[in-house]
């Protein structure tokens, strides 16, 4: 069973120009014990999707339709109190900026003990657990470092502490929003390796958001590609990266300079801009920038199966699909 099962979720923001349709009919899953990646560029709706899952939405956001099922139950119908009980215990999150996640005026130990406020343990036991968690994420000499303040740790260390805190309650789902973007490449690989090991040890499911294709390829089991508020492709990383079915995924992979081994002074790009999400085009959302568009693209495509477990929202796939 999927830990997280999102069905036809639509979210819009009220703006002076009208409703900005940030998410439209998003359907995706995070299977039990797996790492699912969401990849997409600025404005694709990644952040809106996370805020809808944990129900920490901007005041002008409105869920139009859909379900966010967590372990079979729809989170959208829960009360605020029920959501609060869920956050940090069942679902926890690691944010992008490790420099601003922690309280600067409290020691790391104090913060790690404080977040265990729900547990009826002695303070010494809580401290012991904090020490164990720090050791688990690879911080040397954890006992002593609990007495230090966030500024005494480097960015990579702070992100490890954030991960330790997020995993403290052994959540079923960890949401990681670009956790390595602010880190240097050599530290990024350390964190990714550690996340993979922790997932094996703790057995939680991870929803990992990134714009970095290489990181997704290395860490995730499955991947969901988003563009301008829609899911355009989903499947195992192997299927999606080796046989991209949607022209956007294909173009995105081609643009990644990590892919291009031969030196060139003319790098591939995707010409054009993402469409205006207030007044959307009627047909396929990517048609404007697509190099294989044809007559059918004037109508909105539905998700079609490219191969078992691998889907894409493109008319070309639907055409090839056996009736």
């Amino acid at each position: 069973m999927a830990v997280l099962d999102i069905r036809d979720l639509s979210v819009s923001y009220a703006t002076p120009r009208g409703a900005l349709k940030a998410l439209r009919d998003v359907t995706m899953k995070v299977p039990e014990g797996k790492i699912t990646g969401i990849v997409g560029e600025s404005g694709c709706g990644k952040s809106t999707l996370i805020s809808a899952i944990i129900r920490l939405m901007a005041p002008n956001a409105k869920v139009g339709s859909g379900e966010v099922r967590f372990k079979g139950e729809d989170l959208l119908s829960r009360s605020e109190a029920e959501m609060r009980a869920l956050r940090g215990t069942e679902i926890s999150m690691v944010f992008q900026d490790p420099m601003q996640t922690h309280n600067p005026v409290l020691t790391v130990g104090r913060q790690m003990i404080d977040i265990q406020y729900r547990d009826k343990l002695s303070k010494a036991d809580k401290r012991k657990r904090a020490t164990e968690m720090l050791a688990l994420v690879g911080i040397p000499d954890p006992q002593a470092r609990l007495n230090q303040y966030p500024f005494e740790f480097s960015g990579g260390m702070r992100q490890r502490i954030a991960i330790a805190m997020a995993l403290m309650a052994k959540p079923s789902l960890l949401i990681a929003d670009e956790p390595t973007t602010a880190l240097d490449a050599t530290l990024e690989v350390q964190i990714i390796k550690r996340l993979r090991e922790l997932q094996d040890e703790i057995g939680c499911s991870i929803l990992f958001i990134s714009h970095h294709l290489g990181v997704i390829a290395e860490l995730c089991d499955e991947v969901v590609v988003m563009y301008a508020g829609e899911v355009v492709e989903s499947g195992t990383v192997r299927d999606v990266f080796h046989n991209p079915a949607h022209p956007y995924t294909r173009a995105l992979l081609e643009c990644d300079p990590g892919h291009i081994k031969v030196r060139t002074r003319n790098l591939p790009t995707i010409p054009g801009n993402i469409p205006d999400l207030v007044s959307l085009p009627t047909g396929c959302i990517f048609a404007d920038r697509c190099d294989v568009r044809y007559d059918a693209c004037g109508a909105r495509p539905v998700m079609a199966t490219a191969s078992s477990g691998h889907q894409a929202a493109c008319h070309l796939i639907a055409e090839k699909e056996p009736a």
Partner: protein, 328 residues
């Protein structure tokens, strides 16, 4: 012919201000960097946070004072040059800053922003409408953009405005600090292609500062790798990518995950984090993280050693460039 820009043994030192009771010290952000940038060529400086790459760039642009060494532009010493004289040179040496929107004043139109260099350099009597149109066309933006304000354009377009403004006076040397940071991959290529095209058209020399090796690979002729304020390796770009000499270069190359789940990973993992530049390790400054560390590395400082067409700062490049060491 000598190089357009010659940097020799440059140190940039900052005074460290402590609290009321602590003593005042200094930190060396750049420690003895030497490099040449030829006319019409691109030099990429690669390094991670705190490696001193931006400090070095700002010293060349006259925004930081170099404490020691020499920075020669066409044979003229830039270090200790009075600001009034440096101002003249800013027609020829221009800097493009990292934050594209933040470096554009929100109150000025795109036209005033890109023609500002003319006014600053006392050339405000030119037909600024025509100049604005020429510059926008040059960077591939529609002429109507002249009337817009920075908040009305996207991040990628703001970068183009940054390029137009930097190149307004037809400079000889462009210093670009992280020109693609924060851009999506689909438009990152546009920016690099634009720089490459303008370089060909204008014969511009470019110094690119970046932490992204993928950017360097395609656009630069020469690359220098910085670690803790020093160059640890330098060479022709293709050479450095094919046969890195310093283990830090290898680790950087390997830390660049490929968009392929089955990619053969040549992972060189570094342990720990970069040491503080206040407490520099003895010997080779990389030895605390080097996976191939030898006893000698913690005592002897490696010297700058020529190898092939490049040079490096490593005692034992032969240890790990042997194929079996790399493959294991």
């Amino acid at each position: 012919m000598s190089a357009l820009l010659q940097i020799r043994d440059v140190f940039v030192r900052f005074r460290l201000r402590g609290g009321i009771f602590s003593s005042v010290g200094t930190i060396d952000a750049v420690t003895g960097v030497s490099l040449d940038i030829e006319e019409g060529k691109t030099y990429g400086i690669v390094g991670e946070s705190g490696s001193g790459k931006t400090t070095l760039a700002r010293a060349v642009a006259g925004l930081h004072h170099a404490s020691e060494g020499s920075i020669l532009y066409r044979g003229q010493e830039l270090r200790d040059l009075p600001e009034a004289e440096f101002r003249e040179l800013r027609r020829e040496i221009v800097m493009m800053f990292q934050d594209p929107i933040g470096s554009l004043s929100p109150r000025l139109t795109i036209k005033s922003l890109i023609t500002e260099p003319f006014r600053i350099q006392g050339m405000g009597d030119r037909d600024l409408d025509t100049e604005a149109k020429r510059l926008l066309t040059m960077v591939g933006l529609p002429a109507e953009f002249a009337a817009r304000y920075p908040y009305q354009i996207s991040g990628g377009q703001a970068r183009r405005v940054g390029v137009a403004r930097a190149l307004a006076l037809d400079p000889k040397l462009l210093i670009a600090d992280e020109p693609t940071a924060g851009l999506d991959v689909s438009i990152q290529g546009e920016m690099l292609n634009l720089l490459a095209r303008l370089q060909d058209e204008m014969g511009l020399a470019i110094m690119i500062i970046t932490h992204n090796l993928n950017v360097v690979r395609h656009i630069t002729d020469t690359v220098g790798i910085m670690y803790m304020g020093k160059l640890v390796e330098e060479g022709p770009t293709e050479e450095v990518f094919a046969r890195p000499q310093h283990p830090y270069t290898l680790a950087l190359l390997a830390a660049n995950p490929e968009p392929d789940p089955d990619a053969q990973l040549m992972r060189v993992e570094l342990s720990g984090e970069p040491p503080s530049i206040l407490r520099r390790p003895k010997g080779c400054e990389f030895h605390t993280r080097c996976p191939f560390v030898q006893p000698r590395c913690s005592t002897d400082v490696p010297v700058w050693t020529a190898a092939g067409e490049g040079a490096h700062r490593c005692h034992f490049p032969e240890i790990w460039t042997r194929e079996e060491a790399v493959a294991s």
